[in-house]
């Protein structure tokens, strides 16, 4: 509750303050606000507010934490990119704060209507963020994101209406039956699949991730997915463990992991590659939904994914001159900046789920959930596609390490960005060796 208010005040003050205060002050203010919200989420007891419409349970706390963390990360490592491309800083930071607030609202409600409000609150700033670079690519990405996002919201809204018609309630887990209820549930899921970038509704992700400014993509991949999965989890779990929704979910998971990973193979642009990989990761995340205790696994995976993909995008943001990151730009990174190359390697290996990095434990936990539910066929397919994934991650790493650079010159990274990325890399490694350290945060008391 307090965290939500802090995020709102941060966004509002930054938006208003941008009119008279220096962009620098706004930037620092937003960072402080996000940091404060992060601390509040870390130590807040479980609580409930607004007549039970806002419930800060362990799941909400964990997912909200991941989303705010992603926003803070995007804020801390984005400066170089913003200056290179002439993006106005205060808008960027203010919009990030607003979007993070939407993510928290979406994660922390058991009410389907409030989820929609959170979804919009999350998405509207993102449409603007995607367009911030003011060039054709950026505007195309924003428009695509906006139009498809509107369709997703419409689907969700339609589903909500049917759900209400069938059950007489907006609460998740309301009892209902018959075709009306089924249609409502399917539409709700479809809307959320959109935001989570799951096939058959994730087609937008590659174009949008590629076109949007790179730090914004960082937040999209790490933060938005977390919020979407929190809502997805509440809807699916509300409908009951092992229920009929497995029948809807299983083919979607299958398509998502297979399509995401196979399409990623053919990419030659790093942001686009990571976009397809984010589709694939949505599939792995959804595996947890089958299990009897999905919340800790999902939260843990989302944290691991946010750290790893965040770090990868953060490295790309340091390379990006505003026209994207073709593999050629990554080539020979080790010569231009050994630190960035090392970070990229850690991030990619963690995304590939290799021990001793945190990505391994994330994968492990969701696979355990699938195994506990007896979904071995899905598990085997997911693991086989994970081998494919390792191939394209390693290929990108090979470009960075084993080929001569295309561009000359040493890459200068700002101290604050270096420090942030170093910290994230440290956590990726440390949590790989001590996975239990943060598990309690996700499992709740």
């Amino acid at each position: 509750m307090t965290a939500l208010v802090v995020l709102f005040l941060t966004g509002a003050l930054a938006a208003l303050g941008g009119l008279w205060a220096s962009p620098r002050a706004v930037k620092q203010g937003v960072r402080l606000g996000l940091l404060l919200a992060l601390g509040l989420l870390l130590f807040a007891p479980s609580s409930s507010a607004f007549l039970g419409l806002f419930v800060l349970d362990p799941l909400a706390r964990a997912i909200g934490f991941v989303a705010v963390l992603a926003a803070l990360f995007a804020s801390l490592v984005g400066c170089r990119y913003l200056e290179k491309t002439g993006i106005r800083a205060f808008e960027y930071h203010a919009l990030l704060a607003f979007s993070a607030m939407g993510a928290l609202a979406m994660a922390a409600t058991p009410n389907l209507a409030v989820i929609l409000v959170g979804l919009e609150l999350l998405s509207l700033p993102l449409y603007a963020l995607a367009a911030l670079r003011y060039d054709e690519k950026s505007e195309e990405a924003a428009l695509k994101y906006f139009l498809l996002g509107a369709v997703a919201a419409a689907l969700y809204f339609y589903g909500l209406v049917l759900y209400f018609g069938a059950t007489g309630s907006f609460a998740v887990g309301a009892v209902g039956e018959g075709p009306l209820f089924a249609a409502g549930m399917i539409l709700l899921l479809a809307g959320l699949f959109f935001k989570a970038a799951m096939i058959p509704f994730g087609w937008w992700a590659p174009d949008v991730y590629q076109g949007a400014p790179t730090p914004v993509t960082l937040y999209m991949a790490a933060g938005v997915k977390a919020a979407a999965f929190a809502a997805l989890l509440r809807v699916v779990v509300g409908a009951g463990y092992g229920g009929v929704w497995v029948a809807v979910l299983a083919p979607a998971v299958l398509l998502t992991v297979v399509y995401g990973n196979l399409a990623a193979l053919a990419q030659s642009e790093a942001k686009r590659l990571l976009a397809y990989s984010s589709i694939a990761h949505a599939g792995y995340l959804a595996l947890a939904l089958f299990g009897p205790e999905p919340a800790p696994a999902l939260g843990y995976y989302l944290l691991a994914y946010a750290l790893s993909t965040g770090l990868a995008f953060a490295v790309l943001a340091q390379l990006d001159e505003g026209e994207g990151v073709a593999f050629g730009a990554v080539q020979g990174l080790i010569r231009r900046s050994p630190m960035l190359a090392g970070m990229l390697l850690i991030a990619l290996l963690s995304l590939a789920g290799m021990p001793p990095l945190v990505g391994f434990w994330g994968k492990y936990l969701v696979f355990v959930e699938a195994a506990r539910a007896g979904q071995y066929a899905l598990l085997v397919i997911a693991l086989l596609t994970a081998a494919v994934a390792a191939y394209y991650y390693l290929r990108l790493a090979a470009f960075a390490f084993f080929l001569p650079p295309e561009r000359e010159g040493v890459l200068e990274v700002r101290p604050l960005a270096s420090f942030t990325m170093g910290l994230v890399a440290f956590f990726i490694l440390a949590l790989g060796f001590f996975p239990q350290a943060v598990y309690g945060f996700f499992a709740g008391p």
């Binding site: 001793p356 434990w361 195994a371 191939y391």
Partner: protein, 470 residues
């Protein structure tokens, strides 16, 4: 103790990555300490230095590690091989040695793990430095070799992860601790599928025909000094994986597919030895020669007898010394001739008699000359295998003829023919290595009991677990 055995090489490697100049010195100290700990474990009956701490308790994962006879023997020869290799190589980048030390930590972890997920953790983690060794310091076609290696290994090991999860959740064990899993074994078709998944993973890492194809490129493209090849040789842990986990966990499934496993092992042993004979490049020759030995070791293990298992683990442990030594020998030749081809090394004994003699000595150990380290393992493997299938044993040990052929070719190359380029004989550091390696290989040959005694104790437990009394 066990923690220190793993931590010291890891820390040495980590420091070495940032301060490459220190890598060799720290590595020597760390591997010496690990070796001594392993040696102490070798003389301790039962599982030495057992540690069990929660690593990820809610997920049923424990840091459970200890060294029984087989693990201790392998940990000992691994530490020793790396220690010697650090002495042997010169003018190599310090970071390369550091990566090797990180790999050593992972390998020791593989041998010490008594929790299935912990085993997987080390098994996969070791892959990262091994890929970097190949990718950063490898030859011209390294990226191709690297992707081949990574793809084979990962496809195998990811399937193994599914099997690991099935081993617990389909059987209802309380955790991934080996003893819990053995107490609640999985039965029926799931067990067969899980065993096959393990089999694929370990066949890649043994390696066994037809999943060996990554191996020749891997060795051919690795750094010419041979250091990375030593590490790669040590990483062939498939036989150990079968011995420790796959077969004891799924004995019924193993019994069902045993004839096919024996077939693959025999084909590997024979085929690889013949292919080795046809090679014109030292590293490829050694790659195939070592592959043939892994086939023999696998044959011994798949016999399901205690004596065969002792032979297999002994062979695995001893080959770390002489196969690694041969790769370093090839590295020394490369430093002198600028090529790894066999052809220009004719008449080497004329200019560099000690170097040639050392090479020949290792070749003879490799083909299993009695009195050297290669013999006890091969002999015991054959004894065990004979009990399971005389036919496959005959097939596999036809490889001995082929092995003699390639070893004699090497002898002929090194000692006869007109003297070629005048090259330097062994230098100071190389003398140290050659002496120590010769001593170690000869010692294990005349006194195999040091390793085979403790291994036998572990092998009895293995046979008891699969329900045999042989």
């Amino acid at each position: 103790m066990i923690l220190w055995m793993l931590l010291l090489p890891f820390l040495a490697g980590l420091v070495g990555l940032f301060l490459p100049g220190l890598a060799r010195g720290l590595g020597l100290v760390a591997t010496l300490a690990s070796g001594l700990i392993a040696l102490a474990a070798l003389f301790t009956p039962g599982v030495a230095f057992y540690v069990e701490r929660p690593l990820f308790e809610p997920a049923g994962v424990y840091f459970a590690a200890g060294l029984d006879g087989a693990s201790a023997a392998l940990a000992l020869t691994t530490s020793l091989a790396v220690f010697l290799a650090l002495l042997a190589v010169k003018e190599v980048p310090g970071r390369m040695l550091a990566l090797g030390l990180l790999m050593t930590a992972g390998l020791l972890g593989i041998f010490a793990s008594l929790d299935l997920v912990l085993f997987y953790f080390f098994y996969e983690a070791t892959l990262i430095p091994s890929l970097l060794l190949l990718g950063v310091y490898g030859g011209a076609n390294r990226v191709r070799a690297l992707l081949k290696f990574a793809l084979f290994t990962l496809a195998g090991s990811l399937l193994m992860l599914a099997a690991i999860l099935a081993a617990r959740y389909a059987g209802g064990a309380e955790s991934f601790l080996l003893r819990d899993l053995l107490a609640a074994r999985v039965e029926g078709p799931v067990a067969v599928l899980a065993f096959l998944a393990f089999t694929l993973a370990f066949m890649v890492k043994t390696p066994l025909f037809p999943l060996h194809v990554w191996l020749p490129d891997f060795h051919a493209e690795n750094h010419p000094s041979g250091f990375a090849d030593v590490m790669g040789t040590l990483y062939k842990v498939g036989v150990y994986g079968f011995f420790r986990f796959a077969i004891p966990l799924f004995p019924a499934a193993f019994a069902a597919v045993q004839p096919y496993l024996l077939l693959f092992a025999a084909v590997t042993a024979l085929g690889a030895a013949w292919i080795a004979y046809a090679q014109k490049d030292y590293k490829r020759l050694l790659a195939y020669g070592a592959l043939s030995h892994m086939g023999v070791a696998a044959l011994g293990l798949f016999s399901g007898t205690a004596i065969g298992a002792v032979g297999a683990i002994f062979l695995l442990a001893a080959s770390a010394l002489y196969t690694g030594g041969l790769f370093l020998f090839a590295g020394w030749l490369y430093a002198r001739f600028g090529t790894l081809e066999l052809a220009p090394t004719h008449g080497l004994a004329k200019h560099a008699p000690a170097l040639a003699a050392f090479g020949l000595f290792l070749f003879l150990a490799m083909v299993g000359l009695p009195g050297l380290a290669g013999f006890p393992g091969e002999f015991l493997s054959a004894l065990g295998a004979w009990q399971a299938s005389p036919f496959f044993t005959l097939v596999a040990f036809a490889a001995v003829i082929a092995a003699a052929a390639y070893a004699l070719t090497a002898y002929q190359r090194l000692f006869h023919g007109p003297p070629g380029k005048a090259v330097a004989d062994l230098s100071g550091g190389e003398w140290v290595y050659a002496t120590l390696a010769t001593l170690a290989v000869a010692f294990l040959g005349v006194c195999p009991k040091l390793l085979s005694g403790p291994i036998h104790e572990a092998a009895r437990a293995f046979v008891a677990a699969i329900g045999g009394g042989k």
